[in-house]
């Protein structure tokens, strides 16, 4: 019985983790996004965490994603994105738009693997 409960618990835990919003992480270093390309699944809401490793502030901005958020030097930002249809969505650092450039590639669930 105990085993049944614990395996049921494990199953619930596993499914809830599976159902949770997927998390993706990007860093800003020397006014560059690392990585500068991120592939996320289509039609899925994802949680993007951007760590600013520079001492200076940056603003994550994307017209295509309708997102805009200031990230202080040494700080981090949580930005929710999607659900999106497949395609390419460029983003940039508004405070350093010449160097801080990146793209989010949204791929359909079929070719995600």
């Amino acid at each position: 019985m105990k085993r049944l409960i614990s395996s049921a618990l494990a199953f619930i835990l596993a499914t809830s983790v599976y159902a949770a919003t997927p998390i993706f992480e990007i860093e800003i270093r020397n006014h560059l996004f690392q990585p500068d390309t991120l592939t996320i699944p289509a039609n899925t809401k994802v949680k993007l965490i951007v760590y600013n490793r520079d001492p200076t502030p940056e603003e994550f901005e994307s017209y295509e994603l309708n997102r805009e958020k200031v990230i202080m030097g040494g700080g981090k930002a949580v930005i929710f994105i999607g659900p999106l249809s497949p395609g390419e969505y460029p983003f940039f650092g508004e405070f350093n738009p010449q160097t801080a450039l990146g793209t989010i590639i949204v791929k359909g669930t079929n070719d995600a693997d």
């Binding site: 949680k47 940056e58 295509e64 309708n66 990230i71 202080m72 405070f95 350093n96 738009p97 010449q98």
Partner: protein, 265 residues
């Protein structure tokens, strides 16, 4: 580097400058003294500095979406103040000696909230480059140029409104104010989506092929009416609801006191 600073500061200044010029023109038509603007700018600057200083801890709040929530509150707050302004302006039309201080105070609240939001971003931007001394020259010049262009567009807009026949100008001011305020309210809803406080299924339409958001027209329309190329259904609904609220508060002010204007003077 120079042109980046011009564009960034211009974008932030333009929205506030257009709103201020509409409110200033309305003040002129209604013979409201312009002193409220000094208080609004002063309070707005203090607000912007405080917000910029506290941005890091604020961002950490509410599981990392504190910044979105504060910005959305400032935007919704500006909208609320502007809808009260619309009511008071249209009431003023009929009641000359009605409560003199309410209208300027409400205008000041709207401007102070907008300056807090837009100003904090400019301050954070500039402060980052002050840290790296070498950029200060071109960033400083660019920021000043951006602010100057934004200010000039505001002044131009103000005189454009004053040049119109005054009966019509007040209606046009109210219409522009309604569109600008509704744009801010829709942007606030966009921030709640970004914070995952509201869920969306995707954009309702996409007009970026016709007017790109980063084009000159797109930027001007953004500042004037809150143009968004690919809005979600909730943002469109917010915009529609906000326009309705602005129209209703204008009509309410217009009709509630309309009888008195029929009386001989």
């Amino acid at each position: 580097m120079l042109i980046n600073s011009v564009i960034l500061v211009l974008r932030e200044v333009l929205e506030a400058a257009l709103m201020i010029s509409i409110l200033l023109a309305a003040s002129r038509f209604l013979q409201v003294r312009l002193r409220w603007l000094y208080y609004a700018l002063g309070i707005g600057l203090v607000g912007a500095t405080t917000y910029a200083k506290l941005l890091n801890p604020i961002s950490e709040l509410f599981e990392g979406v504190g910044q979105e929530l504060v910005n959305a509150s400032l935007q919704y707050g500006t909208f609320a103040a502007l809808s009260l302004v619309a009511f008071l302006i249209s009431r003023r039309r009929n009641v000359d000696n009605s409560n003199h201080s309410t209208l300027p105070v409400t205008m000041a609240v709207a401007v102070a909230l907008a300056v807090t939001r837009e100003g904090s971003e400019v301050l954070i931007y500039v402060s980052g480059f002050v840290q790296m001394n070498d950029f200060l020259g071109s960033v400083g010049v660019g920021s000043l140029a951006g602010a100057a262009i934004g200010f000039s567009v505001g002044v131009l807009f103000y005189y454009l409104l004053l040049a119109i026949d005054s009966r019509r100008a007040l209606m046009i001011s109210l219409l522009l104010l309604g569109l600008a305020a509704s744009g801010m309210s829709a942007q606030a809803t966009g921030l709640l989506i970004q914070a995952d406080w509201l869920s969306v299924s995707g954009p309702l339409w996409n007009t970026s092929a016709y007017i790109a958001e980063d084009s000159l027209t797109g930027q001007l329309l953004y500042a004037l009416v809150g143009y968004e190329a690919s809005p979600s259904s909730i943002e469109v609904a917010t915009y529609a609801a906000s326009i309705t609220i602005m129209a209703l508060s204008t009509l309410l002010g217009w009709t509630l006191f309309a009888k008195r204007s029929d009386e001989p003077q």
